[in-house]
Structure formats: C-alpha cells, structure tokens
Symmetry: C2
Subunit: 418 residues, 2 copies
Amino acid sequence: MAIYQPPKGMKDIAPEEMGRRKWIYSVIRNVLDSYGYTEVASVELEMWETLAAKAGEENLNEVYDFKDKADRRLALRFDLTCGIARMVANMRLPKPIKMYAIGNSWRYDAPQKGRYRCFTQWDVELFGIDSITADAEIIAVSSEIMKQLGLDLEVRINDRKLVENIFAYLKIDKRLYSDVMRTVDKIPKLSKDNILAEFKKAGISKEQAESLLKILGRKGKAKDLIPILKKEFESNADITESINTLESLFASLGSDRNYVLDLSIVRGIGYYTGIVFEAFDKKEQKLGSLFAGGRFDGLVGIYGTEDMPAVGVGGGMERLMEVLEQNGLFNKMQRTKSVFIAPVNDAVRPYAKKIAASFRKNGFAAEIDLTGRNLKKQFDYANKKQFDYITVIGDKEKESKTFMLRDMKTGKEKKMKF
Amino acid sequence: MAIYQPPKGMKDIAPEEMGRRKWIYSVIRNVLDSYGYTEVASVELEMWETLAAKAGEENLNEVYDFKDKADRRLALRFDLTCGIARMVANMRLPKPIKMYAIGNSWRYDAPQKGRYRCFTQWDVELFGIDSITADAEIIAVSSEIMKQLGLDLEVRINDRKLVENIFAYLKIDKRLYSDVMRTVDKIPKLSKDNILAEFKKAGISKEQAESLLKILGRKGKAKDLIPILKKEFESNADITESINTLESLFASLGSDRNYVLDLSIVRGIGYYTGIVFEAFDKKEQKLGSLFAGGRFDGLVGIYGTEDMPAVGVGGGMERLMEVLEQNGLFNKMQRTKSVFIAPVNDAVRPYAKKIAASFRKNGFAAEIDLTGRNLKKQFDYANKKQFDYITVIGDKEKESKTFMLRDMKTGKEKKMKF
C-alpha cells in the first residue's frame, strides 16, 4: 500500500508523540503568556516574493516552492519569523510588540535521519526596543521554557558587533566579512587546522587567522572574561563599547550560572545585527542547539514602510524532543489519570455513564466501554491501552451507589462512593 | 506593498483572534481528552492519490494540488478525516480507536466573504465499533463541546439506511439513489416547488416525489415521531428495523431536549453508511451547521487491508467563531489577568523583575517595561494594550516591600505586600 504513505520526508504525529508535544507546547505557552507575549499564526503558504525577500542566497534553493493552478509562485514557509515580521509590518500596534508562534515549517532538501521536510518550530519576537533589556528578556524567557521542561542549559552569548570590531581591529578587508563570519560560526565544530584552512580560503592572512582564533576562541563566565577583554582592548573605543554592551546584557540577565560569554558565537544567518546566542543542553551538546536567536534590526523594514528594532529566538521541536528523551524527562511529564469503566450489561449503562461524567468533572479521562463485549475482553483492552484505573459497574454497584476502583499498576482496590 | 500580503484566500491570525481560538481549542481538547480521545496530527501535505481515493468526483477539482520539484503530484489536505483514516489503517491498535485532530485544511476554489482557501477544522473519529453506542457517544461529545462554549444547539439526527429503505418502499430505481439523495439533502434549504423540480430532474415520478417529501419532511422529538413512524410502516420489515435503530440511538443519547429526529438529514457526501447528523445554533441557524458527521464504515478499508466500522464528526472553526460572536459568548471567555510593571529607573529594575516573577507564579501575565521611557509613556502603552492592572515600582516601594496595584478599569488602588 505504498501510495498511501505521507509524502517523502514528512511524518504523521501519532498519539504518544502528540501527548509529549502537547506537554511541551503547554510549557512554552504558559511561560510566554506569563511574560505578556501573545500567540499569532501567520499563513503557512506565502507568496514566493515574501520568502525570497528574507531568505539568503544560500537558502533559496531549499525553499519548498511550487506553482498553483493559476500559475502563481507560492511557497511553504521555511520559518516562523518571516510571517510574524510581515504581519507586524502591516499592523499599527503600540510598541513594544511581543509575539510568538508554534507551527510547521518546510524545506525542500534531502531528508535524513531526524531531519524532515516538514518540521515544527517555536518562535518568539520582540519588536520596537533598542535597549539591551529586550535582548535580556528574550534570552531569559527562552531559558525559562527549557528550565520548566527540566533541562540544564548552557546559553552561549556574544555580540556580532564585537566580532566585526575585532575584524576591523585586525584590519580584515570589509569585503571578506561575511565569508570570515561563516568560518567563525564553525569554530566550535571544527579542528584548529580545519578552521585555519577555512580562514585561508576566506582570504585572510595566516597572522590574522591565528589572532582571530586566539581572541574568538575564548569562552567563560562573563564576570571573569569581561575584565580581561576590557584590559586587552582598552585602547580600542569600538571594541570597548561592544564589551560594555555585553557587560550590560549580563548584568541585566542576573547571576544565572547557565549564561556564558562565547566569542565564537556569531550565527551563520546574515540578518543578525547585534547580540546573538545559542543554547545547548549540558549533557547532550552533540545533539545541537535547543534555541538560538539574536537581534535583527533590519528585517521588519523589508516588509513595510517603518524600520523597527527586533530581537527574536526560535527552536526546533524534533531536536528538543530528542534531548528531552535522552534526559529521561518525558517520564516526569504530568499525565491526566485515566479510568476505564466497564458496565456488565446494557441495563446499567446509563448509570455507568453518570459515573464516567463524574470522573470527567474531577479531571480524569474516563472511557466507558462502547462495545458491549464480555468483561475479559474489556479488561484486555484496558490493559493494552494502559489505563491507570478500572471499575466494573453491575447491578449491585448501581443499587449500593458504591464501586471498586482498581489501580492497574498495583492491583489494589479501593471502595468509592458515587 | 501589495506583494507582501498572504496569498489569495488566506489570512493571518492576529493576537485577538488567536486568543479566541485558543479558548475554543482548549474547550475542544478538554472535552475530548476527558472522554479518552487522543489527539493526533497527520501531515498537511498528502500524495494526490491518497486524497483522490476519498474525494468524490465533485470535490476533486477543488483539491489544492500541485507538482513538487521532483514532479510528484501532492496536495494540501481538504479535511482531517482522510489523514486520520490513513494513519489508523497503517497502525495496529487495540479497538476501539478514539482519535481527534484540530488543524488547517485547504481547498482551491473562489474565495468569498467568510470562506477561505485555508480554514481550520476540528475532527473526531471513533473506529472499530458497530454498535449504536458509538454513534451516540460521538453525538454526545460534539454536543458537550458546544454546550461548554455556551451555545444552545439543535442536533438533527437521521439514518441514511432509513431513507434508502423508504426509497425502496416507494419503488425508486436504485440507479437514481445518489441523485435523489442529493436532492433530499436540500429539503431544509429550498422551497417545496424547487424541491419537486429537482426530484423531477433526478428522474423520479411526481407521486414518488410527493410521497418522499411528505415522509422525509417530518421533524420532531424522537419520542413523538418514532411511534407514528412505527405504526405507519409496521408492515415493512426494513423500515421498521431502521426505526428501531434510531429508537436505540435516541435511548442511548438520553433525554436531552436538543436532539431531534429530522428525516431530511442525509448529508451530501457519498461515504456515509448509517446514522447521520447536523447541529445548528438555535438562534443562528442561517449561519449553517456547527458540526456534522455520521457513520462511514467503508473508508478505512480504502487505505489498508482491514475494513473497520467508523463514526466521525467535524466542524469548521471560522463559522463557529462567527456564531459565538453573534451570541456574545467571547465576552464570557475567561482571560488571564494582566499586570504592567513600571520601574521608575534602572536601579529598581532587578527588584521590579522579582515582583513580575511573583505575579507570573500566581497566574498573571506580567509585563515589565523594557524601554526605560518616562512614566507617562508607560501609562499610555498600558492603557492602549488594556492591561487589567498597573503598578509603579520606585525606591520607596523597594525599601518598604509594598506597592500599589491600580485596577485600570475602576481606577481603584490597593496596597500590596511583596
């Protein structure tokens, strides 16, 4: 029945995975709602032009585009930021504007293990604030989400402007900035030799490359690293200013032990203009970043008449689920308790329904047998579906207005009054 | 900036509408979870063949299909039933299987007021049970959702088999059944003359048409109508059997005053095989049905090796929102209380953040000013965004560990201790 499968690189979300996702979604929503962010849902299909205006050259051929029946060029969105920026550009809202979204995005590339053509993202955007307090809040809310999911994070923070000022300090040719930036992005992933080879390819001298690697290879607590950097670059006003920005940011973030300054963090994507950050699970760093983002003051202006400062963050659901699984955190997830109600005959069914309704009112998921099959089969089903409790309702139970509630794990029974 | 709009017939969901939708989604989820249904999410894009296997001839040209970059024919799903049926056909799950989904569907037709190319649906399916108790539960859960949203419903219920047995009783040619059925579907919408004209076009005699209209035009309380029908058709075994089925269904549904027997309800779509129903808001009937569904025992077999009895129901979010709006029910929606925290300077900001955190822990949405602008501007913003409360935090508040909480509607202030 091969033709009745989902398209290549896409998958259905079955009940167990959906249960896990719903828990994650509710944590994300609770945290963001409590900080005054409001959820939105932009269209999943966009005009090609809308996505092309944001996608970098290198991403354009991964866009999932097609022509509709009227020969319009449309595309399935590749992220959630675009749509939110387009919405905001078209609305007249009091600033700051605090929005978030959870939804599917698509890319048309070769599917690999754990990498799908359709994937789910969460995305938070804060528009209209220049001040570093905005960057700090975005980092804080993202970290709070992960903390409430039970994860222990390392959030690596940097300022792209600092890196650019260091490029200038090392007299790197401006035209090489974007290639050099892309290599800097790889510092944590490649060996020293490979990085030096890449810097060479990007066109900078061996001395420049080694200086860069020495400066940008630094990572540590901001309170340790910032005084050192301040001293080292005290004669350079631009670098000093960037360091002061980072100092304010860390001050605003407070003394959370999870925040580190990592001078190699620059984010590959071209549109970031200031603070950038990436967060990793401390135990499962190899699985990649759990969220990443930064300041992108230029994007809203593309879609409207008014430019607007902006900070944003996003993360992928599939990777997050993998990290939660590796950390055994789904076991700690709160589940609704479930009870299976087995009426022994049709005559007691109306009474059994009343008991079901009462369980539902008290926060249980209560399923009543609908098949009329014998009790053994009803028990088999309740076992297979792993109900927490089961209760058999017969004439005696109806008369006495009591019933026995059996805990399916321990086998213990408890007498209950209706 | 016309090119940066959503594609034709599609729309973004902005904060206010999203807030309303989130309330509706949570009511749907709470009711269905409490009855033991589990949420799933099938892919939004399907292979063309998958959709074509279910879509009737008349719907195929409304399918939103296209060719991907590898020349595969794909389509955006037109409903949620297809994907769930395909998923279930591919899984080996203990029966009954109780699933639901909330998500977007697409159709490629001319957009009209209130009718979009992309729309949101909710959909509940119950697989594996022949018994009428399953039909009753599906009707009961759908009605419970609407009741919890505050709506007063009329649920019109019928059995397609009864209608077919009446066709046979009136000696209507079997080859005309589907055309006649489509006309029956229009009985509540068209005038008597127009219906008779349509019956004539469908190929039945004037006598047959008038008899049909007389029999199927009946609608009322099951307890009044069923005895009359029983007596009228006591000599016809097939019709009597169908009436008995309906009698059992209404018995299983209980004495809810919202359930009526309506012999003209047949649902246009071809794949229904038994009980069918449509629900309307009592005050806003002209806006169309809020949910509709029925038994479709043949669908799962299309997608797998095993045939499976099934009952399902679905409804559209856009129409539901319109009906809730007309009934003023969004005003009764529970909202999270929001508080705006205005620090007078940067020195008290860390303290203001602690107050914000404490509000969040107590279930408030708490936003702290991030701009550093003056108090007048902060108040303006808090007014425009309609916060429920505002509090100003200065040095005095920090020292005394107290603050004044101002109710933005009444203007009243209350002294609070941190």
